[in-house]
Each structure stands twice: as structure tokens, then as C-alpha cells.
Amino acid sequence: MNPKKLVSRLLTVLCGSVLLYWTAAYAADYPTRQIELVVVTQAGGGTDLLARTFADVAKKYLPQPIGVVNKPGGGGAVGYTEIAASRPDGYRIGVGNVEISMLPHMGVARFTAEDFTPIAMLNVEPGAITVKEDAPWKTVEEFLSYAKDNPGKVRVGNSGTGGIWHLAAAALEDKTGVKFNHIPYDGANPAVVALLGGHIEAVTVSPAEVVNHVRGGKLRILGIMADQRSKGFDEVPTLKENGIDVTISTWRGIVVPKGTPKNVVDVLIDATRKTANDQSFRDALVKLNMTWHYAEAPQYQEVINRDNAFFKALMGKLGIAK
């Protein structure tokens, strides 16, 4: 063999092994630089506050800081498309909301729920039927029987057409045969304000989004769309207790793009577990009126799959799916 060839071959092997070593070492050392946590809503919303709190607490458990980056637009379609399409190296992770199992069915997104690998679920909020305190209905049955007698007359506010709380009201219609007049607002908060002003009859947002006004004696929650009663609202029955099988909730968690290496995922799962169970994180969530709900990746994946199938069917039935 001529020496030149030998040298070049040796060099190739050397370079190759160095490169291999580097990538291996780099993956093993994850993270070596700041991690971007993408939030698909504008700065200041519930999801954003959750993410910023998470990033703040996670400092303790990761050698590198997490920076929150807002990529709002299209009800989350912009941000999720970007998370799904980003390099699966663990340096861009995202807050995954229930929308990742809804948007793909609306024909407005270029991703599917399968494009994400779940890390852990952090928070769950069920839907609820809330009316004004001075409204004539004291129970879900009274409310629904009134709605049945006056089809299209009961105005129900939601956080946007095709959004989770619109689907909550629609699922209720679907199960009980009543007919609401759906009024979309730009988010849950304006809908609650409209209810306070008496411009609509009810909202289907989460208890956390109306809790201040319930405690202030302005609004009343009639029923909660969950399997169990909610903490802090122990006196409010679930719809299931009333024989209406509607359970709809929104959830938030940490996701990474599909194809992220296992060791990176493991580091994130470990750090997220520690962060989520940190007392200061749980305290912060209580203050934000959010329900702490930690679930490991496998359960989180199950929830995503279940909701993905559920919303596909429901949205197809409602004619929202495209």
C-alpha cells in the first residue's frame, strides 16, 4: 500500500472517530447550551406564565438555563409547526397543549399529534358550565332543560371557534340534544367579562378561569366536565354525576419533536419530573389558579392519543374538521 494512501485512510478513520466521539460526547453531555422552550401563545397568557414558572424552577435541575420564546399565531398552528419542524436535538422544546390534538384536524396545520414526543404533563383543566349568580338555573338539569325548551336562545361564550371550550359546548350539545347559540371571543377572558356583563347566558371555560368571580359571588359553576370533582370546587357536581357523559379538559405539558435521541429525552424527563414535583413550582401553580397534574410520558402519550381520536371524531361530526 502506498504510504500516501495509508496516511489519508488513517486520517479519514481518525476524523471519523473524532466526529463520532464528538457527537456522542455532545449528546451525552446534553445540555451544553441554553434550551429554548417554545410557547405558542403570546407573552402573558396562562400557558406563558406556566412556561416561565417552569423555566424558572428548572434552573435548579438542569446545568443550562431554559429560555422561553413566544411564537404566537394561528391559535398555536405557527408555534407547533415550528417545534415539529425543528432539529430534534433537545435544544428546542415546547409546551404542548391540547391544541396539538385538535389543530391537525382543522386543516390549518402542517403537523400531526404524532410529530411530538411527550416528556411529561404538568397541568390539566376540565371544562365547566358557568352562569351568572343571579341566573335562574341552580343545577345542570335546570339549565339544560331550559336550553332544550328554547333552542338557539341560550348564548354560550367560548374562547374561539374550533377552540377547546367551543368543542366542550358542542360536545354537550351532541350528548344532550340541546342547541346553543355559540359566541366566540378572543380568548376565555373576554368571554367571562361578557358573562359578567350579562351579555351571554353561560360560558364553558375551565373553573380556574372563573374562580375569582365565583369566590367574589358574581358567577356560579353548575357542573364540571371531568371524571372527578375538582379540588377547591368540591361542592360542584360533575356532569357524569348528572348522567351526562361529557368529559373534556385542556392540558399542558412539555413536548419535543419526534426523533429526539433517547438520552436527551431521558435527561429532560428526569429534569421535568424533579421540576414538576418541586414545591415552589406547585405553589406557583396554585397561585396562578392552575391545577397541578403531573403525568409521566407514557400516560401523557395515552392522553394525546385518546384526545386525538376523540377530537377527530367530534370535529368531523360538527363539520369543523377539514
Binding site: 403570546q42 407573552a43 402573558g44 397568557g45 396562562g46 406563558d48 406564565l49 416561565r52 414558572t53 423555566a55 424558572d56 420564546v69 413566544n70 411564537k71 404566537p72 399565531g73 394561528g74 391559535g75 398552528a77 405557527v78 409547526t81 382543522m106 390549518v108 396545520a109 402542517r110 338557539g152 336562545k153 348564548r155 374561539g160 371557534t161 374550533g162 347559540n181 355559540h182 359566541i183 366566540p184 371571543y185 378572543d186 377572558n189 373576554p190 367571562v192 367579562v193 361578557a194 359578567l196 356583563g197 350579562g198 351579555h199 351571554i200 375569582n212 368571580h213 369566590r215 367574589g216 406557583a284 397561585k287 396562578l288 389558579n289 369543523i320
Partner: protein, 494 residues
Amino acid sequence: MYEIDMLFKGFANLANDPVTLLLALIGVMLGIVIGVLPGLTATLGVAILLPFTFGMDPLSGILMISGVFFGGIYGGSITAILLKIPGTPAAAATAMDGYALTQKGKAGLALGTATFSSCIGGTLSVFMLIFLSPLLAQFALEFSAAETFALAIFGLSIITSVSGDSLIKGLIAGFAGLLLSTVGLDPMSAFPRFTGGFTALFNVPFVPVMIGLFAASEAFKSLGEEQTRHELKVFIGRVIPPWSEFRGLIVTILRSSGLGIIVGIIPGAGADVASFVAYNEAKRFSKNPENFGKGELKAVAACESGANSCTGGDLLPMLTLGIPGDAVTAIMLGALTMQGLQPGPLLFKEHASLVFTLFAGMLFCYVALLVVGLSSLRLMGKVLEMPRSVLSPMILALSVVGAYAINNSMFDVGLMLLVGVVGFFMQRWEYPPSPVVLALIMGPMAESNFRRALSLSGGSFDFLYTRPITAGLLLIAIITLLVPVLQRRIHIGK
């Protein structure tokens, strides 16, 4: 009186707490910087600051956030006046006359007036918050979709008064802006309109459009101008307006502050709406409305006092009812609840001492704003002494960063460039940019609320005339639209 007594106690509490005062001061300074940078709004500043306030005591945290809020609204006016680059949407109205004054060599006077008007407007709104909260709180709830729609129509009618010389070109710019405002997800059915498949266009990226329209187009224009003409010596001049000038502004400032407070209380309407409304009314009441748009000091005073008095108005329904009117107050609501304080009627009873100390601190913030503002104006004015050949490239670089920062999106930067080119031609062909901004603020508000109101009323158009506030606002809108047309008729007839 109970309130005055409590307020004095609040000042006493504050005086014993120098750290809180320092944090409030830092907040104001930070807010001004954020306001000055195009693309960074008070909302973003408050959101970034929020996690840092978690570890502070409630008073310091909330005061620091308030400082950023106040400073951010005010800071937008500085670049608007000096460079015709509104740092925030509210300052787009200020830019019209503020920049004209700078071109006349009166930058200092304009900046000083803006600072004083901001401070007075803001202070008045805090006093309103202290004394009239319970009285005005219910007003916020009166506003349903029908009322908000009428407000938006009134806002749109202001196009006629910001159109400059050619009404028809102003209207074209306005309706082009309205058409642009329909790009994105339809507010009622969530159908993507005119997006060409770009998810980034699902919501009209308002801030990049504004930066392109004002900043980038101005920079492009300066590229083509003969450089020597631009090296004119602009002196910042005195920043404190002489009493003889200021005396004439007092009525305008008071009226604009009142309007700003009312607009602030209305949920969903903020400083941007307030400054345009204040501008319009100042022009309506002026003896020489033809001076507006050509460097009228009253216009600057009106816009700034209107925008800043909005802050107290915004805070009112949030503190008294727990309903935030916009993104900033929504974050503040989050901050308050994180500190274990539930806004609502009980807040004033259970935490009276804290609330009044907070109010005292807000008044301090506005004094700080005045002092920081006035003392930094000379430094800011140095920008004008920069040669155009450094300034214009810097403005372009700043436009790029600003357009990127709001959504962390390069798409927005490309859009900013495109709008900058369009804005350049608009300027060459004398199409005013302000109607576009106005349309982008009011357009989505008008459309979504009209359709919402129609749904609320079960498909009947009654809401246009059966609701007193709606009917009143629509009537004012019609008058605002017709007056300039009639005036022109009379003018031609002479």
C-alpha cells in the same frame, strides 16, 4: 376624607421602603427603554419582567411592573417625535405632529410637551383610580360587542382627520389597511383568509407592518435624498415648554386625559385607541384644525396625555372587578394573584393599606417618569446630531431586530421589508401611513364585534340603534365623517 388619609399613609409607607422606590424607578427606566425600541411593547416588557417579580414582595413586584407599563407607553413617543418611528402603536398618532415639530427644529419642545402631558395624564388617571373606582367600575361591564363595534367605527371615522391634505388618499390608505386587517384567521369561523398557506399570516403581524410603514420606509427615503440637505443642524432646544406655550395646552391635556381614562376602562380598548381619539377631539375643538399634521403642539399633548391616562383606566376594571381589559393588565392580574392578592371589590377592603400604598407608588412612578424623561431627553436628542449616513443604517438594523423580536419570526422581518417598500412608495405618492395603522387597530375590532353582536342579538340588526351607547358612538362617527366633507364643500363654494 378616607381616601386622602389612606393615600398619605401610603406615602408614609413608601418613604420607609427605599428598595421598593428604587425598583419602581428601575421599572420606569426599563419601560422607557422598551418603549423606545421599535417592536418592543409594554406587554412584552411586563411579560419578561414577571418571573423576576415572583421573588419580590407584592408591593415591589407590582410597582415595578406598573413602572414598566407606564414607561413603555411613554417611551414610544420619544422615537416617534425624533425619528418618526413610533416605538409603540399608541405613538403612531404622536409621530404625525411630533416629527413635523422636529423638522421645524422644535424637537425639544415636542419632547418636553410629550413628557409633561404623559405625566399629567397618567397622574390624573391614578387619582381617578383612587377616588372614582367604585363609581366607574360598572361602566366596563356595560360594553358588550355592540358597544365595542360602535367604538371601533368611531375610531375608523378618525381616518378623516389624520388623512392630511388629500382626503381621498387617506381613505384609500384606510380601506387598504382594513382589507389588510382581514388577512388571517376569521374571528368567527376560524377560516384562514388570504394567507396563501403561510401559517405566520394567520394573525396579521401588526408590529412588523407598523415598523415597515414608518421606520423602514423613512430609512429607504433617506437613501435617495441628497446627503448634504440632511445634515441640517437640529438643536434639541429647551425641553421644558415655556409657560406661555404650556398654558394653551392645559385644556387639551385635561380633555384628552378624560377621554383616555374612559377608553382605558372599556375592555379591549387601550392606549393606541386612546391616543387617536384624543388627537381627533383635540382637532375638533381646535381653532386652527388645519395646523394638525403640520407640527401642532396641541396634537402631541393630546396624544400623549390620552395614551398615558389610559393606564389608570386600564387598571380600574382589573383592580375593582378582576377583569383585565388588555394583555398588560392580564399579566398584572396574574402577578397579583401570584402574590396571593385576589383583585375584586374585596381587595380594597381587605388589603386597603397595600392598595393605597400601591397607588402612592404609582404616583411616584409618574414623578419618576417626568424626572427620568426630562433628564434623558438631551441624551436622546443626540440621536439627531448623528450623521444621516450612520442613523439610517442603524434604523434599518433596528427595524430588523424589532420586527423579529415581537414573535421571534424571520417571516415577520421579511414582511416588514415588503411593507417598508410599499410605505416608501406611499410616502413618495403622498398616501398617509396613519390611516393604515388606525385601520389595523380598529378593523379587527369592528369586524369581530359586529359579527359577534349580530350573533348575540339572534341575527337582528336592532343593536345598531336600540342601545344608547352604541347609537351615540355611531352618531359621533357619522358627524366625524361628514364634517370634513362638508367643510371642503363650503370651502370650494366660497
